[in-house]
Symmetry: C2
Subunit: 239 residues, 2 copies
DNA sequence: CGGTTGATTGATGGTTGTCAATAAGCGTGG
DNA sequence: CCACGCTTATTGACAACCATCAATCAACCG
């Protein structure tokens, strides 16, 4: 099953028909993007909604002096905002972190999908609202959490989000990014990310080796990161 | 004219009919909230969409140890997310900063407003997308801007946002919050906000006195804050 | 005119950034 | 299989920015 369907089922009770519509969308106009390449850059005009099928991407903004902030990670099953075409230009860039496969959904196709389908419309509204909730939590992270809390919180968040789309196994998940990229997401330096990871390793809470995160003690890690999964809104049991 | 209509006209060409619908919504079920009182608290279940008519509010999250992060400021004309009722519980709180008047729009009322009205639906989608863009910019602010840049950027953002709803006059605007609240929004301490304001005052870029911001040199202040208004998407001229 | 809240300033310390050097990992090609 | 070169990770030394604590001052208010 494609990761978007998997994710939406967490919220809505989808019919076979809904699923086949989603499956159709997920197989349209595939595109592969190499790591470190932009999927779309700030200032460009988006022509379709991108759906991540595999690999990791990120939204980011960069200053002229080189400082960069990763605003969010885009994981399999994530959509780049519905209706982006209502805004003329991109105010940020989206770049691939690992090799990425994505489906490009056209505005017309999206309109057809949603027209008269309340369940799917609501499911995608839910997706949008959860994305906003994620932004809010990230603001809290970079605004008020310490470096240790930031790293722990992010690792927990990714664990839960990847879990929904079936990408968690053996107490961990593939982490196809660099420490520098994690630093850009957390608003700290890569050197400090490194030191912080060492601290979490020493405390036997988690490891990150060979591109894979392993969580040794999830409850303790969540405590350290002041992590409360409520903002992911995953507990609605197909309501 | 109510501030929501004013704001949406920035994006959409509204008919008289649209405007009267909005006016009707803006006059329904008014509620007054005192400063420092929650409009809705984390964990509660929202029953309607709140529209700020006057005064300032904010979304925020607070840790048990007292640390608080203000996620966004809610100004006149701002809506608390459409369709919040799709998410069961609030994952954050909304509190009044100054005396606030708001209209409480019920889900049914909203549905009636939007049903079959593509222009209004799109206008409110635009509102949602701009809110998300605001979140992203705030992540950049707390993640990668220095204290000086943060303060300058926020003052510029508020200037532009308040300008849209007609609350800017004589090179400035009313600022009904404390330095501590600004600190909680910017992820720094109130003491440091104070020192930073002094620096901006000394540089003759702005003043904040008697609850009012005055901008002495907007271009220079925007430069200091690395402020680029593109994320506010205000340049669509009623497209 | 007290009393409370918020603003302002100084002193000090801590978390994190920067710089720089070394080690480790990884893909390519000899 | 190893050598090479590149990227990334790791570690130490030092500096800077910002937090914290605490005291004073100003503003507001009944």
């Amino acid at each position: 099953m494609n990761p978007l369907t998997r994710k939406l089922e967490r919220f809505a009770c989808l019919s076979d028909d809904d699923k086949s519509i989603l499956q159709h969308a997920a197989s349209s106009r595939l595109r592969n993007v190499e790591p470190r390449c932009d999927i779309i850059a700030e200032g460009e005009t988006p022509r379709h909604v991108n759906l991540i099928l595999s690999g990791w991407a990120c939204r980011y903004k960069q200053f002229e002096d080189g400082r960069r902030q990763i605003v969010s990670f885009l994981l399999p099953g994530d959509l780049c905002d519905l209706n982006v075409f209502l805004l003329r230009d991109m105010d940020h860039s989206i770049g691939a972190l690992s090799p990425v496969t994505l489906a490009q959904i056209s505005p017309e196709q999206l309109r057809q999908m949603l027209d008269g389908n309340l369940r799917l419309t609501q499911a995608l509204w839910w997706e949008t609202l959860v994305t906003a909730a994620n932004y809010r939590e990230r603001i809290v992270t970079v605004g008020r959490r310490t470096a240790l809390e930031r790293v722990a919180h992010l690792v927990c968040e990714l664990f839960h989000r990847l879990s929904v789309v079936g990408l968690v196994g053996d107490r961990g998940y593939e982490m196809p990014i660099t420490q520098t990229e994690m630093a850009d997401a957390l608003g700290i330096s890569s050197v400090h990310v490194n030191r912080t990871l060492k601290e979490l390793r020493t405390a036997e809470l988690m490891t990150w080796k060979g591109g894979r995160i392993t969580i040794l003690n999830l409850p303790a890690l969540e405590d350290v990161g002041l992590f409360n999964p409520n903002y992911l809104h995953l507990d609605q049991g197909g309501r």
